[in-house]
């Protein structure tokens, strides 16, 4: 069976698994949903009120029926009602998502723009001082947690430049692009540089592998220039691990960079989950987590399609 069809077939299967996991996870929270929702007030309920509520929320039903109802609800866009916001979960999520998406895209652009050239440069200058310098920076970049880096950036900006990135209310791109960018650029740099470090390392090692392949020698033997050998012959072959890594990282960023959003006070998906957990808003936790996992799976599917576009052996099937 073709690689792509196989991936397409497992996609709904994994999605189903994800939904079961999220559903079960939330059911495992100690205490029943009514107590969780109403807090101490739940103690004031009469048994009749309690069972009425249970019936209203459907939690008097057996678990598999609850799951089925929840799942069919999801297909109609019904992710439940957030208790903290008093609004449909999906609405809250979609309100926060543009920020997270923009931040993830910006970070990836930074990562690719810095990482691939740096990796290729290091690979073609293997074991020279410039290679060692690139590797050292990449290693430090990869070892610096985003929260350390974010705090350092804020510290440097505020102490040495007297500048504080605008926090609090988020300005969407379409309202005021400049204000929006000035809000997002430092978080994007924070995330992008760590991401770039990984891209650099993987581009370098993948490129090194490919440069010793036979077809690179063939290209040289027919008189191809050094630049053509690197960009035309080697890079297209070296790029697959880079795509894999970028896909995974981007998928995770779509799940919200919880800490960076927290530090820069950006109202993205990550902070939404964190707040939901702290507020014990389980409908919101459930909906957001599911949404994030779905995003991740979709990004993975796009990565698979990219493989097929890049590698004819995957596209046309291997003999």
């Amino acid at each position: 069976m073709n690689y792509l069809t196989q991936r397409l077939l497992t996609f709904p299967l994994i999605l189903l698994g994800v939904s079961v996991l999220v559903f079960v996870a939330i059911r495992m929270v100690p205490g029943d949903a009514i107590t969780a929702m109403l807090g101490t007030e739940a103690g004031l309920l009469t048994p009749a009120q309690r069972s009425a509520l249970a019936e209203y929320f459907g939690i008097d039903q057996p678990v598999h029926i609850q799951y089925w109802r929840w799942l069919t609800g999801l297909f109609e866009g019904n992710f439940g009602i957030s208790s903290t916001y008093g609004r449909p979960v999906l609405e809250v999520i979609l309100e926060r998502f543009p920020l997270t998406l923009e931040l993830a895209l910006l970070s990836m652009v930074i990562a690719i723009a810095v990482g691939i050239p740096a990796g290729v440069f290091a690979a073609t200058h293997n074991e020279r001082t410039s290679d060692l310098a690139v590797r050292l920076f990449a290693m430090i970049g990869q070892s610096t947690p985003s929260f350390v880096f974010a705090l350092l950036i804020i510290y440097v900006l505020s102490v040495f430049f007297g500048y504080l990135p605008a926090m609090g209310t988020f300005t969407p791109l379409w309202v005021d692009p400049l204000a929006n960018l000035s809000q997002l650029i430092f978080p994007a740099i924070t995330l992008g540089l760590a991401f770039a470090a990984s891209v650099t390392r993987i581009s370098r090692s993948s490129m090194l592998d490919v440069l010793s392949d036979d077809y690179v020698r063939t290209a040289r033997s027919k008189g191809a220039s050094g630049r053509s050998v690197i960009w035309h012959h080697a890079l297209p072959n070296a790029v697959i691990p880079v795509v894999t890594l970028s896909g995974v990282e981007f998928g995770y960023l779509l799940g919200g960079a919880v800490i960076v959003e927290e530090i820069f006070a950006l109202p993205g998906i990550g902070r939404l989950v964190l707040d939901a957990i702290n507020q014990r808003d389980y409908a919101l936790v459930q909906g957001t987590v599911l949404f994030i996992a779905l995003n991740f799976l979709i990004v993975n599917l796009i990565v698979d399609l990219t493989y097929a576009a890049l590698d004819p052996r995957i596209r046309l099937g291997n003999k």
Partner: protein
Amino acid sequence: MRGILRAIAGHSSGRIGAAIILVYIAAAILAAVGLTPHDPLTQFRIDRLTGPSATYLMGTDLLGRDTFSRLMLGIGQSFTIAFSAVALATIAGTIIGLVAAWWGHLWDGVLMRTMDVLLAFPAILLAMLIVAIAGPGTFTSVAAIAIVYTPIFARVVRGPALSLKQRDFVDAARTFGSSQSYILTRHLLLNLVAPLTVQVTLALAWALLTEAALSFLGLGTQPPAPSLGVMLSDSKNLMTQAPWLMIFPGLTIMLGILGFNLFGDALRDILDPRTQERPA
């Protein structure tokens, strides 16, 4: 084994990585037996928010506690959680990966799709979810990080195990009539030690990071127990008055992760089958 140690000593980044890890472990042990410059929990009220000095090497915090001593204890906390979590993940992941690769078919399908489900959640999110269910604390942190890394180990084991299964020496073992357990332990597991060692080291770096991140978000180690993440989180609002409260814990976390990354890279170079197996 001795050869590997010698190779690490001869590898520049391996040397640095090993040195950092050893210093950290020493610090953690000293802290555990109470050999810190000051008591990490005592509040020296008069010396609140003093900068680094001969008495307080890395200054004190808002409550007048010694940053250096707290860092030593925090390293111990982080390392304990990271090591236990990675140990659990290694064992679980190795078993899952081996079973999936060796028995294949349905086992492979069910186990690896389950791992795929777990991998569909960003690590920190999955950890947060687990903490949300079980409540914050040391034990939850260990469990959360272990669950997050199990699928990664399962994948790291399954790939090479599948290719080992195809190797001629496994076929040869079959022709002798060697038992399944002999083949699994001698021919598969023994050859997986090298890739696993590399992965364990790198996972330790990530586990340190995840632990710090969880604590930073208030979902990991709970105050007043010192933890690198909590200390860093506390420093956020004092950044301009007391930068040492941010810089030292930040550097401590970074260096620790760097140490494991450097060490793991060196191991990967040394254990790389391409540089090992066939003599030219």
